[in-house]
Structure formats: structure tokens, C-alpha cells
Symmetry: C2
């Protein structure tokens, strides 16, 4: 594809004039079709050699399309605040809703291209890991209704130089020529090789690259417009899902020991001890460069709230946030399911505690039939990748599954109904969920088996004894923080 | 109030023990009541002398309440990015939804307090302007269902010093003592006078200050808890609205000259001229420290879209954003109506074009009866204040009202129905709106009269001739930008 682009092919004016109007009308119609169906988001990634006309093409797209339903997402070097969250967070933050087009400048390819400029660095574990992260990110977006289309603008050395010269000669366009544009000619071979390496490594069946021959403005425009048109009209490219290996419907939770207990005296002396250790562990120098994400899942009335309350007692309110997960808002529903969790991923030095989490995908959504099996089945791998990205950035991810015996749950439900300021905590839904305990246990057992990972470990706690549960949570989090390297 | 706090009053342990449990239960119940009613947001502003126990009291509140439905909003010095948007934007950005509690640390009072530390600066136009901006901000929040409660923590010099000493002696609390805390004793009188000046100047009937005697931990806790409890339970304090002066139902729009025209030749030479000037005007050094907000309102089919398209032709897609305003999302509905516009206020060097805007409050919401008269009537003053804040920061606000004759509108509606890629633009709603043209004109005329302002001027364009309309928009925006000081 690069070789073909370097021949600087041309579209004759007559041919262009013959198709321009129809193409514009079709594009606009297709954009409104997308807006009406709202069945996917289209993300157009713009990359390529400097001085190839990326900017002007995008300006033209904004003019041809209805600019109100598209958004240009331009990224430069991450700010200090952006560096304090996982690398992909800033792309997630601004993801447009379904029905809309996002045009991405300075995308997640910028770091990979920077690396590719050094020939020796185009392989090896770091390179592979970067490529892998990008492929997984795009594949997940595709599966969730975000169609990523990637355009690499390319042209010959001579054409690039000529384009710069022409633009410099006109005061109305001279400002568009940057020092980077002018430097291209001197490093052309290296840039081309790096470009090829990036495009070849990240050619993704569900997020394909197209190399746009960029020397001729008419051909450039038509190529881009036709690509966007196709993206608007065609159904989203869906990744092939590897069928989930069948898993016996096994309930591993009922086999646990629910009888362990702490005495009141033990609890009363352990509570301040572990709260003190937790409180000190989040004030270390090491933690200023890390973040903490704590996930609570588990049975209704298993003591999530009480455990969280004991935890926050040891924390400064300015440092943490508790995020309860219930029904998504309509802005959240219009985007991939992980979006609402990305929104709440803390910056370094901060803590987010999720009271229920992204695991709802493979628990409540599975058991209640809210999500199709093919969608929750692929979620295991997506979640593992998500947590891997958090851990890569240095976030400490600690996950708790709290589980109680049916008898204990029943007695807690009755207690809640009878205590004035707890009665809001018990609803008809809780009673309905209770009837589905066996299904929830099977789902939770499979979740544990498939999403247990070293960087984001699960801790399963049998919480018939609340005191033991609270101390275990505090101790687990404190020890994990204490183990951080300075 | 300050004198009383400086006597360091105390609550006996017996009294505290007698009420603690009941108070906690009541607080929690009241919080759930608020969550269920979702009729207002409660914002608790925390301020006061350093080392008075602000932080620890808020940590305690987080423990007593259900921390999942409250959020600590801690602000320190604005970041570089935050400085590039109007000062209040960062408070708007994180405003919790109705039903929730936000605890604000380092609030909009920080700059005022800093100023108040110099006695001479506690009066004069700048001081008055700062006080006025705060009062208007809080009053608007109150009118829109955000109850602001402000707590000023205060204690005697001796008690403050003693508290620091005690905390320093215990390794578990020593870290809480900052250099600022220790410096308080040396500047006590100055701090107290500044505090008094701030509290007295900003005592707001709908967002009252309460001075919390802070020497005694029990009294401090109980005072804060009771204040929060009241805020949860009582209906929101509503500002008194000055009745709108009656305005004759006058239609000033029909009196305009709708016959002016540009020839095709004139248009073809003026269009590139003004696009060029606009394009240069947004690339000046002066504009890097300013921002541009363009508002389009007007009749259906009056040519908003076409004018916007000609404008963006001259702009770089990375620099601007077009925001179409239609039905609010549920996250937007849960907050004051200006929230969704604040979200989209650009940073310096950037441009937002609103295709319909906050003026919907006094146009469509008034005419269609979507908003009660007392609410849209106060919106005039709120909008003027909003635009004043934008202009104060240095944003250039340019507002266009595009209006056409009923005959011209009819012929454009028919044309749209017959053109394939325009037919999506015409709906039953457009025909219904057309029948209400007289009411819309009266509303628009009153809007013009009440919201015309020097920092955010209205430009009313009779747009029966599209060419003239487009050139006028380009010229108006370009000239406004060219007039910016370097």
C-alpha cells in the first residue's frame, strides 16, 4: 500500500467534478442514517507523514458533513494530570455516543510511531506489548459498537516537499507548514519505514488501516470520503469471538468455611491497628505515584457497606471516592459498558472504591438475561485486559467477593426490615435476587475462575461473621499497599 | 458569631453520648430521604481557620453518612488547564446530581479570603465585584435546586495552638498538622479579621454562613451534623424573585428590513475575503489568551446551519467545536439548566459554536410551557450574569438571532421536503413551531431587550437572503476578533 501511495496517483478534475456532488449528498445522508440508527460510534483515526494534508482533509470533512454531530478529538502530549491516569483513560473520557463520528488526531498511535522511528526498537517485548494493547483496545471497541477506521496519509518525498513549498508561497496557507513538515524530506526513508512498521504491526481486521495516497488533493478527498461513507453505512465489523470453553456449572462458593469468627475483644483491638496501618500506607511517598482501586462484589447483605465504612474511616475524604454502581445513565448506555468505569479511574495518589463494578456484566447482567451470552462471554477477557491496563499504569487493584450463607442472609434481611434506618436497604428486588442465589453462585464461581489474575487478585471472604470480614478487608488492602516499592 | 466561637464552648460527654446515636440514625434517614426525593442537591462549603478540624469533621461525616451518595469536591490552586477556562467552570463541572451531597473544600471563597488578608483590599470595586459574583452564583444555584450551606470553622488562638500541639504529639495525627496550621497563631488577629470580612460580606439569605465553634470536638461534630440534617430535610431556600416588569407583547422582529440582498458576484468575492480574515484572526497571538463563543438562535430554516458551515470553513477542526442543543440527557436534567452549557465552555485559544443555546430557556421552554413562568422570568438575569462571567474571563461572546419572513420560511420548508439530502431537516415539529411564530417573536423580542449587553451583544439578522446572512456572520465574528487587544 505504501509503494502505491508513493507513485503519487492523481484523480483528473473531470472525474472529480463528476462525482463530487453525489458523494457529498451520500455522505450527509449516511451520516443522518447513522445518527438515526445510533447503532454504533464511528472513530476515524488520522495518522501519517507530516505535511500530507491530514489537517486540511479533516477540515473539509467537517464542512461536508454535519459538523454538529461529529467531534474532532485532538490529542497532543499528555498533560501532567493526564499522566497521572492510565494511558488510555484520555481516549475513553471523550468517546462520542453511538450515532456520532469522532475524528481522532494524535491518537494512541503516537507513542508507537515514536518508538518505530528507531529500527532496533521495532521488535522485542516492549514493542509487542504496545502493539498488543492497541489491538485489544480496538477489538474491544469493535465488539462494543465502536467502529474504528484508521487512515495513514502518505506520499512520495518529492510530492511532500513540493506541497510544503507551494503552501509556503501563499500567505494564507504558509502558517499551516510546520518545522516538522519541512524536516520530513531529510528523514523520509526513516519515516516511511517507521510508518510501514506501525501499520503492518497493527493491521486489525476489525479496525483496518487504509493508506491514503495524499499527493493529489482530489484523490485524497475522494478516498477519505468513500472510506467514511462505507463506515457509516456498513454494519460494524465484529470481532470473531473464540467460543468460551464450556465450564461445568459449579458452585465453588458453598464449599468455603463460613464458621470462622473473631471475638469482640479481638475485633476491638485489631480494628484500630489495621485502620492505622491503612492510614499510614496511603500517606507514603510511594503511594503518591500509585493509585488504589478497590472492588466490592457479593451477596446482598454480605456486608459491603460496613466494610467500606471501616475502610474510609482510615482515609482522608479528599483522597478517595466511593462509586456505587446501579442502573447506567443514558449517556453511559450510549457507550461501551466499560466507559462508566473508566470515567471513575483515579489519578495517582487517589483511591476509588467501587461498590459493585464492571463485574456486573458477568453477574447480574448474565443471571437476569440483560446481556446476550456472546456479549458477557467475551467480557471475561475484556475485563482481564482492562485490569491489566490499570496495573500497567501502576494502579493497585484489589477485588473482594463477599459471600454469606443463605441462613445468615435471611436473618440480616429480617433485621434490616426491623431497623428504622436500615429498612431502606431492603427491597423486593433483594428478595427476588435471593431466590436466584444458585444461579448467582455459578456465575460468581465462573467469574472467579476466569478473572483471577496476579495484578488484580480476587479475595473471597465468607462473611457470616462481619467482624472477621471487616478486619480481613482492612488487612488485605493495607498489606497490598505496604508491599509497594518505593 | 465569631466572638461566640472564640469562647471555645464545650459539649459535655454525657450530653453527646445521649444524642449521638439518634443523630446518626436521623442523618442517615434524612440522606436517604433526599436521595429518594431527588428534589435538590446539597452543597456543603467548608472553610475557616487552618487547624480547626475541618478535615477530620468531613472524614467523620463520610463515615456517618452513606458515603456512596456524597462526594468530596476538593479544590487546590487551579491547574494550567483550569486557568484557561472561566473561574467558576471547575465548580460547575463536578456539580453532583439532585439527591446527592457535595462537600466542597477550597471553594470559590479561597480567592476572596486571600484578598481579605490585606485590610486595604477589603473594599473597592474589585472586592465588590468578587462578592457580587459569589452572591449571584449561589443565588442562582439556590433557585435551581442546589442548596448551598456554608460552614466557617473558628476557635480561639489558644485552642488552635493547643489542638496543633496535641496532634503533633501523636504520630498517628502529627501528619495532619501543616505548616499553615502552625502559622495561624502568629497571624491570628489578621486571619480572624479576614474571616469576619469574608463571612459578613457574603452572608446570603439563600446560602447562609454558620460559624462552627471548633475547639471542642463533640460540639463541632454535633453542630455540623445538625446543620446537614436540616439541609437534608428542609425544602430548599428559594431566593425572592423580583417580579419581572411587565413588558408589552411586542414583536420587534417583524419591523426589520427583509429585502436587503447581495448579488452572486458580490457574495463570491466577499466570501473568501471574510473567511480569510476570520482564519487569520483566530491565529493571532492575542487569541491564544482568549476564547470565542458564538451563539445561533432563530427561526427554523433561517440559515443557522449554512452560516455555521461557512464559518468552520475558515477554522481548524482541532480548534473549534459545534454543539447542537436538543433535548437534555438525564445527567443534564438532574442539574441546573446552565450546567450543560458550562460543560462546553471552551478553554483559551478555542472556539465553541452553539447551534441553539441557553436562550432556549426563554424561547422554546417559555412558548411551549416546558418551564414555569417564575423560572424562565428569572433566567434573563441569570443569563446576563453567566455571559458576564464568560466575558470577565476574556471570552468573546457573539450572539446571532436569525429571522426570516413567513413566506420565505414556507418556501424553504417546501424546498427541503423536495431535496433528498435536506428532507431529514424538516419534521412535523417544524410545521407545529411555524404555527406559533407570533408567540416565538414576542419571546424573542423580549429576550433581545433583556439580554442585550455590551460584553455579549446580540446581532439580529434578517436572513431572507442567505448570502447576505452568511457574509454578515463572518464579518461580525472576524471584526470582533480583530478588535481584541494584543
Amino acid at each position: 500500500m505504501f509503494e502505491q501511495a508513493e507513485t503519487d496517483p492523481v484523480m483528473e478534475e473531470a472525474e472529480f467534478t463528476g462525482i463530487e456532488d453525489r458523494l457529498r449528498a451520500d455522505l450527509l445522508l449516511a451520516q443522518y442514517g447513522l445518527l438515526r440508527r445510533a447503532d454504533k460510534t464511528v472513530l476515524l483515526v488520522i495518522a501519517g507523514i507530516d505535511g500530507a494534508g491530514k489537517g486540511s482533509t479533516i477540515n473539509l470533512l467537517n464542512e461536508w458533513l454535519d459538523t454538529r454531530h461529529m467531534r474532532t478529538l485532538a490529542f497532543s502530549e499528555p498533560t501532567r494530570h493526564e499522566r497521572r491516569r492510565p494511558a488510555m483513560a484520555r481516549y475513553w473520557d471523550v468517546l462520542p455516543a453511538r450515532g456520532h463520528l469522532g475524528v481522532v488526531f494524535g491518537s494512541w498511535y503516537a507513542p508507537l510511531l515514536r518508538r518505530a522511528l528507531k529500527k532496533k526498537k521495532r521488535s522485542g517485548p516492549r514493542w509487542d506489548a504496545m502493539v498488543d494493547a492497541i489491538m485489544k483496545f480496538e477489538t474491544m471497541l469493535a465488539a462494543e459498537g465502536v467502529q474504528v477506521i484508521k487512515l495513514w496519509f502518505h506520499l512520495s518525498r518529492e510530492a511532500q516537499r513540493e506541497r510544503c513549498t507551494t503552501m509556503l508561497a501563499d500567505p494564507d496557507t504558509a502558517w499551516r507548514v510546520s518545522l516538522e513538515d519541512l524536516a520530513v524530506a531529510d528523514h523520509y526513508a526513516r519515516l516511511r519505514d517507521a510508518s510501514k512498521a506501525v501499520v503492518e504491526a497493527t493491521q486489525n481486521p476489525v479496525a483496518p488501516w487504509m493508506v491514503v495516497p495524499s499527493a493529489d488533493i482530489r484523490l485524497r478527498i475522494v478516498t477519505v470520503a468513500r472510506t467514511v461513507l462505507q463506515a457509516f453505512c456498513k454494519p460494524a465489523l465484529q470481532p470473531l469471538v473464540t467460543p468460551r470453553l464450556p465450564q461445568p456449572s459449579h458452585d465453588s462458593l458453598s464449599e468455603r468455611d463460613y464458621t470462622a469468627k473473631l471475638s469482640r475483644e479481638q475485633y476491638d483491638s485489631m480494628l484500630p491497628h489495621w485502620q492505622g496501618r491503612l492510614s499510614r500506607a496511603v500517606r507514603t511517598k510511594a503511594f503518591r505515584k500509585r493509585s488504589l482501586i478497590v472492588v466490592f462484589e457479593g451477596d446482598d447483605a454480605a456486608g459491603k457497606g460496613g466494610a467500606i465504612r471501616r475502610m474510609v474511616h482510615a482515609l482522608d475524604a479528599r483522597q478517595y471516592r466511593v462509586v456505587p454502581i446501579s442502573a447506567p445513565t443514558d449517556e453511559e448506555l450510549a457507550r461501551p459498558y466499560l466507559w462508566r468505569f473508566w470515567r471513575n479511574i483515579p489519578a495517582d495518589g487517589h483511591i476509588t472504591i467501587f461498590d459493585r463494578s464492571w463485574y456486573g456484566r458477568v453477574l447480574v447482567e448474565r443471571v437476569e438475561g440483560l446481556t446476550a451470552p456472546e456479549d458477557w462471554e467475551r467480557a471475561y477477557a475484556e475485563i482481564v485486559e482492562f485490569e491489566h491496563q490499570l496495573a500497567e499504569h501502576g494502579a493497585l487493584v484489589v477485588k473482594f467477593l463477599l459471600t454469606i450463607t443463605p441462613d445468615e442472609q435471611l436473618s440480616r434481611f429480617h433485621e434490616r426490615e426491623q431497623t428504622e434506618f436500615k429498612s431502606f436497604k431492603i427491597t423486593d428486588e433483594d428478595w427476588r435476587n435471593r431466590e436466584k442465589t444458585p444461579q448467582y453462585r455459578v456465575a460468581a464461581s465462573e467469574m472467579l475462575a476466569r478473572t483471577q489474575s496476579k495484578p488484580a487478585p480476587w479475595h473471597v471472604l465468607a462473611t457470616d461473621d462481619k467482624k472477621l470480614a471487616r478486619i480481613t478487608v482492612l488487612e488485605t488492602v493495607a498489606r497490598a499497599l505496604e508491599a509497594l516499592d518505593d
